[in-house]
Assembly symmetry: C2
Homo-oligomer: 118 residues x 2
DNA sequence: GGGTATAGGGATAATTTTAGCCCTATGCTA
DNA sequence: TAGCATAGGGCTAAAATTATCCCTATACCC
Protein backbone atom coordinates (compact mmCIF):
# COMPACT_ATOMS: atom_id res chain seq x y z
CA UNK A 1 0.00 0.00 0.00
CA UNK A 2 1.35 3.33 -1.02
CA UNK A 3 2.48 4.92 2.20
CA UNK A 4 1.19 8.41 2.61
CA UNK A 5 3.80 10.85 3.68
CA UNK A 6 3.83 14.32 4.99
CA UNK A 7 4.57 16.48 2.00
CA UNK A 8 7.57 18.60 2.84
CA UNK A 9 6.45 21.32 0.51
CA UNK A 10 3.45 22.14 2.63
CA UNK A 11 4.81 23.51 5.84
CA UNK A 12 1.64 24.96 7.25
CA UNK A 13 -0.50 22.95 9.60
CA UNK A 14 -2.99 22.46 6.81
CA UNK A 15 -0.67 20.14 5.00
CA UNK A 16 -0.41 18.02 8.07
CA UNK A 17 -4.08 17.54 8.68
CA UNK A 18 -4.83 17.09 5.01
CA UNK A 19 -2.34 14.32 5.02
CA UNK A 20 -4.34 12.57 7.66
CA UNK A 21 -7.96 13.18 6.80
CA UNK A 22 -7.52 13.88 3.09
CA UNK A 23 -8.62 10.48 1.85
CA UNK A 24 -11.91 10.32 0.07
CA UNK A 25 -13.69 8.28 2.71
CA UNK A 26 -11.62 9.04 5.77
CA UNK A 27 -13.61 11.90 7.22
CA UNK A 28 -16.80 9.89 6.86
CA UNK A 29 -15.18 6.88 8.43
CA UNK A 30 -13.98 8.87 11.40
CA UNK A 31 -17.45 10.30 11.73
CA UNK A 32 -19.06 6.87 11.51
CA UNK A 33 -16.73 5.31 14.03
CA UNK A 34 -17.30 8.18 16.37
CA UNK A 35 -21.03 7.58 16.13
CA UNK A 36 -20.50 4.05 17.27
CA UNK A 37 -20.28 2.10 14.06
CA UNK A 38 -17.23 0.07 14.78
CA UNK A 39 -17.29 -2.97 12.57
CA UNK A 40 -16.03 -3.08 9.01
CA UNK A 41 -19.25 -4.58 7.72
CA UNK A 42 -21.22 -1.77 9.31
CA UNK A 43 -18.96 0.83 7.80
CA UNK A 44 -19.37 -0.82 4.48
CA UNK A 45 -23.13 -0.74 4.75
CA UNK A 46 -22.96 2.92 5.67
CA UNK A 47 -20.85 3.71 2.62
CA UNK A 48 -22.30 1.52 -0.07
CA UNK A 49 -20.64 3.47 -2.87
CA UNK A 50 -17.22 2.48 -1.64
CA UNK A 51 -15.69 -0.86 -2.34
CA UNK A 52 -14.81 -3.09 0.55
CA UNK A 53 -11.23 -2.86 -0.61
CA UNK A 54 -11.05 0.89 -0.53
CA UNK A 55 -12.60 1.14 2.88
CA UNK A 56 -10.12 -1.33 4.28
CA UNK A 57 -7.27 0.61 2.75
CA UNK A 58 -8.43 3.87 4.20
CA UNK A 59 -8.98 2.24 7.56
CA UNK A 60 -5.48 0.87 7.45
CA UNK A 61 -4.07 4.29 6.75
CA UNK A 62 -6.05 5.82 9.55
CA UNK A 63 -4.66 3.15 11.81
CA UNK A 64 -1.10 3.79 10.64
CA UNK A 65 -1.60 7.45 11.34
CA UNK A 66 -2.71 6.66 14.84
CA UNK A 67 -6.26 7.91 14.43
CA UNK A 68 -8.03 4.65 15.03
CA UNK A 69 -7.18 1.41 16.77
CA UNK A 70 -8.09 -1.95 15.36
CA UNK A 71 -9.18 -4.64 17.76
CA UNK A 72 -9.43 -8.21 16.55
CA UNK A 73 -11.49 -10.70 18.47
CA UNK A 74 -10.27 -14.27 18.05
CA UNK A 75 -13.64 -15.69 17.15
CA UNK A 76 -15.21 -17.24 14.12
CA UNK A 77 -16.50 -15.77 12.00
CA UNK A 78 -13.91 -13.07 12.54
CA UNK A 79 -14.89 -9.97 14.40
CA UNK A 80 -13.05 -6.69 14.22
CA UNK A 81 -13.83 -3.36 15.80
CA UNK A 82 -12.34 0.04 15.30
CA UNK A 83 -12.04 2.67 17.99
CA UNK A 84 -10.87 6.23 17.91
CA UNK A 85 -7.60 6.78 19.72
CA UNK A 86 -6.98 9.88 21.79
CA UNK A 87 -5.46 11.44 18.74
CA UNK A 88 -8.52 10.49 16.77
CA UNK A 89 -10.78 11.95 19.40
CA UNK A 90 -8.85 15.18 19.21
CA UNK A 91 -9.88 15.38 15.58
CA UNK A 92 -13.56 15.47 16.36
CA UNK A 93 -13.91 19.24 16.72
CA UNK A 94 -12.26 19.61 13.36
CA UNK A 95 -14.44 17.02 11.72
CA UNK A 96 -17.55 18.56 13.24
CA UNK A 97 -16.81 22.04 12.01
CA UNK A 98 -16.07 20.76 8.56
CA UNK A 99 -19.16 18.65 8.42
CA UNK A 100 -21.32 21.50 9.62
CA UNK A 101 -20.00 23.82 6.98
CA UNK A 102 -20.56 21.27 4.27
CA UNK A 103 -24.01 20.38 5.46
CA UNK A 104 -25.09 23.96 5.65
CA UNK A 105 -23.76 24.43 2.18
CA UNK A 106 -25.65 21.44 0.85
CA UNK A 107 -28.85 22.66 2.43
CA UNK A 108 -28.36 26.05 0.88
CA UNK A 109 -27.22 25.42 -2.65
CA UNK A 110 -28.38 28.89 -3.55
CA UNK A 111 -25.36 30.22 -1.79
CA UNK A 112 -23.38 29.26 -4.76
CA UNK A 113 -25.25 28.68 -7.99
CA UNK A 114 -22.18 28.00 -10.07
CA UNK A 115 -21.24 24.78 -8.38
CA UNK A 116 -21.96 21.82 -10.59
CA UNK A 117 -23.58 18.82 -9.06
CA UNK A 118 -22.18 15.72 -10.67
CA UNK B 1 -9.43 22.28 -16.95
CA UNK B 2 -10.85 19.24 -15.30
CA UNK B 3 -13.96 20.48 -13.58
CA UNK B 4 -14.22 19.30 -10.03
CA UNK B 5 -17.58 17.97 -9.16
CA UNK B 6 -19.39 17.18 -6.03
CA UNK B 7 -19.04 13.46 -5.68
CA UNK B 8 -22.51 12.02 -5.40
CA UNK B 9 -21.24 9.05 -3.47
CA UNK B 10 -20.28 11.17 -0.50
CA UNK B 11 -23.51 12.52 0.84
CA UNK B 12 -22.25 13.82 4.14
CA UNK B 13 -21.20 17.42 4.49
CA UNK B 14 -17.60 16.28 4.54
CA UNK B 15 -17.71 15.39 0.90
CA UNK B 16 -18.90 18.85 0.10
CA UNK B 17 -16.19 20.74 1.89
CA UNK B 18 -13.50 18.36 0.77
CA UNK B 19 -14.58 19.07 -2.73
CA UNK B 20 -13.86 22.72 -2.17
CA UNK B 21 -10.78 22.85 -0.03
CA UNK B 22 -9.35 19.47 -0.91
CA UNK B 23 -6.76 20.68 -3.38
CA UNK B 24 -3.16 20.44 -2.32
CA UNK B 25 -2.56 24.18 -2.12
CA UNK B 26 -6.06 25.47 -1.63
CA UNK B 27 -6.19 25.68 2.14
CA UNK B 28 -2.88 27.50 2.16
CA UNK B 29 -4.05 29.84 -0.56
CA UNK B 30 -7.21 30.69 1.33
CA UNK B 31 -5.12 31.28 4.39
CA UNK B 32 -2.69 33.48 2.50
CA UNK B 33 -5.37 35.54 0.86
CA UNK B 34 -7.07 35.98 4.16
CA UNK B 35 -3.86 37.31 5.62
CA UNK B 36 -3.77 39.95 2.95
CA UNK B 37 -1.62 38.45 0.28
CA UNK B 38 -3.74 39.14 -2.70
CA UNK B 39 -1.55 39.10 -5.76
CA UNK B 40 -0.61 36.00 -7.70
CA UNK B 41 3.08 36.84 -7.55
CA UNK B 42 2.90 37.15 -3.79
CA UNK B 43 1.13 33.85 -3.46
CA UNK B 44 3.75 32.30 -5.62
CA UNK B 45 6.53 33.66 -3.44
CA UNK B 46 4.77 32.34 -0.37
CA UNK B 47 4.50 28.86 -1.87
CA UNK B 48 7.78 28.43 -3.69
CA UNK B 49 7.38 24.66 -3.95
CA UNK B 50 4.34 25.06 -6.14
CA UNK B 51 4.56 25.82 -9.80
CA UNK B 52 3.01 28.99 -11.08
CA UNK B 53 0.81 26.80 -13.19
CA UNK B 54 -0.58 24.79 -10.33
CA UNK B 55 -1.28 27.81 -8.21
CA UNK B 56 -3.20 29.43 -11.03
CA UNK B 57 -5.21 26.30 -11.51
CA UNK B 58 -6.09 26.03 -7.88
CA UNK B 59 -6.96 29.70 -7.77
CA UNK B 60 -9.22 29.23 -10.75
CA UNK B 61 -11.00 26.38 -9.07
CA UNK B 62 -11.45 28.37 -5.90
CA UNK B 63 -12.92 31.11 -7.99
CA UNK B 64 -15.27 28.73 -9.78
CA UNK B 65 -16.40 27.45 -6.43
CA UNK B 66 -17.17 30.96 -5.32
CA UNK B 67 -14.58 31.09 -2.58
CA UNK B 68 -12.49 33.90 -3.99
CA UNK B 69 -13.11 36.73 -6.39
CA UNK B 70 -10.57 37.74 -9.00
CA UNK B 71 -10.20 41.41 -9.74
CA UNK B 72 -8.25 42.52 -12.77
CA UNK B 73 -6.91 46.03 -12.97
CA UNK B 74 -6.51 47.28 -16.53
CA UNK B 75 -2.96 48.45 -16.12
CA UNK B 76 0.39 47.47 -17.45
CA UNK B 77 2.10 45.41 -16.31
CA UNK B 78 -1.06 43.52 -15.46
CA UNK B 79 -2.26 43.57 -11.92
CA UNK B 80 -4.62 41.06 -10.40
CA UNK B 81 -5.90 40.70 -6.88
CA UNK B 82 -7.84 37.97 -5.20
CA UNK B 83 -10.35 38.54 -2.43
CA UNK B 84 -12.32 36.18 -0.29
CA UNK B 85 -16.02 36.24 -1.04
CA UNK B 86 -18.59 35.98 1.73
CA UNK B 87 -18.63 32.28 1.14
CA UNK B 88 -14.87 32.24 1.39
CA UNK B 89 -14.97 34.22 4.60
CA UNK B 90 -17.39 31.71 6.02
CA UNK B 91 -14.69 29.11 5.56
CA UNK B 92 -12.25 30.83 7.86
CA UNK B 93 -13.36 29.19 11.10
CA UNK B 94 -12.97 25.86 9.41
CA UNK B 95 -9.56 26.66 8.04
CA UNK B 96 -8.42 27.99 11.39
CA UNK B 97 -9.45 24.91 13.30
CA UNK B 98 -7.78 22.68 10.79
CA UNK B 99 -4.61 24.70 10.76
CA UNK B 100 -4.47 24.77 14.53
CA UNK B 101 -4.81 21.04 14.77
CA UNK B 102 -2.12 20.48 12.20
CA UNK B 103 0.22 22.99 13.74
CA UNK B 104 -0.16 21.51 17.18
CA UNK B 105 0.52 18.15 15.69
CA UNK B 106 3.64 19.34 13.95
CA UNK B 107 4.92 20.91 17.14
CA UNK B 108 4.30 17.69 19.01
CA UNK B 109 5.47 14.95 16.73
CA UNK B 110 5.80 12.70 19.76
CA UNK B 111 2.05 12.42 19.73
CA UNK B 112 2.42 9.98 16.98
CA UNK B 113 5.80 8.39 16.42
CA UNK B 114 4.71 6.18 13.59
CA UNK B 115 4.09 8.93 11.10
CA UNK B 116 6.77 9.05 8.48
CA UNK B 117 8.17 12.39 7.51
CA UNK B 118 8.88 12.35 3.83
C1' DG C 1 -22.66 -29.84 -1.13
C1' DG C 2 -24.07 -24.91 -1.98
C1' DG C 3 -25.21 -20.72 -0.03
C1' DT C 4 -24.59 -17.17 3.65
C1' DA C 5 -21.63 -14.19 6.57
C1' DT C 6 -17.27 -12.69 8.71
C1' DA C 7 -12.48 -9.95 7.44
C1' DG C 8 -9.02 -9.27 4.40
C1' DG C 9 -4.90 -9.57 0.52
C1' DG C 10 -2.67 -9.23 -4.38
C1' DA C 11 -2.35 -7.41 -8.73
C1' DT C 12 -3.74 -4.31 -11.99
C1' DA C 13 -6.66 -0.79 -14.31
C1' DA C 14 -8.82 3.61 -14.43
C1' DT C 15 -9.17 8.07 -12.89
C1' DT C 16 -7.87 12.26 -10.79
C1' DT C 17 -4.53 15.47 -9.42
C1' DT C 18 -0.26 17.68 -9.78
C1' DA C 19 3.83 19.00 -12.14
C1' DG C 20 6.87 20.56 -16.11
C1' DC C 21 7.92 22.79 -20.16
C1' DC C 22 7.33 26.32 -23.43
C1' DC C 23 4.27 29.87 -25.46
C1' DT C 24 1.75 34.62 -25.50
C1' DA C 25 1.71 39.94 -24.45
C1' DT C 26 3.16 44.63 -22.43
C1' DG C 27 6.16 48.20 -20.37
C1' DC C 28 10.14 49.39 -17.73
C1' DT C 29 15.22 49.68 -17.06
C1' DA C 30 20.07 49.02 -18.15
C1' DT D 1 18.50 45.28 -27.78
C1' DA D 2 18.43 42.24 -23.86
C1' DG D 3 16.51 41.15 -19.50
C1' DC D 4 13.14 41.60 -15.91
C1' DA D 5 8.49 41.77 -14.07
C1' DT D 6 3.55 41.41 -14.61
C1' DA D 7 -0.40 37.43 -15.46
C1' DG D 8 -1.68 33.67 -17.75
C1' DG D 9 -2.73 29.42 -21.52
C1' DG D 10 -1.74 24.77 -24.04
C1' DC D 11 -0.14 20.43 -24.02
C1' DT D 12 1.80 16.40 -22.04
C1' DA D 13 3.91 13.54 -18.55
C1' DA D 14 4.28 11.86 -14.03
C1' DA D 15 2.53 10.78 -9.68
C1' DA D 16 -0.88 9.86 -6.52
C1' DT D 17 -5.38 8.07 -5.47
C1' DT D 18 -9.36 5.05 -6.17
C1' DA D 19 -11.64 1.32 -8.12
C1' DT D 20 -12.13 -3.51 -9.95
C1' DC D 21 -11.56 -8.27 -10.03
C1' DC D 22 -10.52 -12.45 -8.02
C1' DC D 23 -8.24 -14.99 -4.22
C1' DT D 24 -7.80 -16.85 0.89
C1' DA D 25 -10.10 -18.97 5.35
C1' DT D 26 -13.83 -20.51 8.83
C1' DA D 27 -18.45 -21.66 10.70
C1' DC D 28 -23.32 -21.70 10.26
C1' DC D 29 -27.78 -22.98 7.86
C1' DC D 30 -30.62 -25.58 4.53
Amino acid sequence: MAKRKIPKDLDCGMGMIMEIIGGKWKPCLIHNIWKGHKRPSELQRLNPKATRRVLYQQLQELEEHGIIRRVVYPVLPPKVEYFLTDLGLSLLPVISVMDEWGTQYLENPGLHPKLKIA
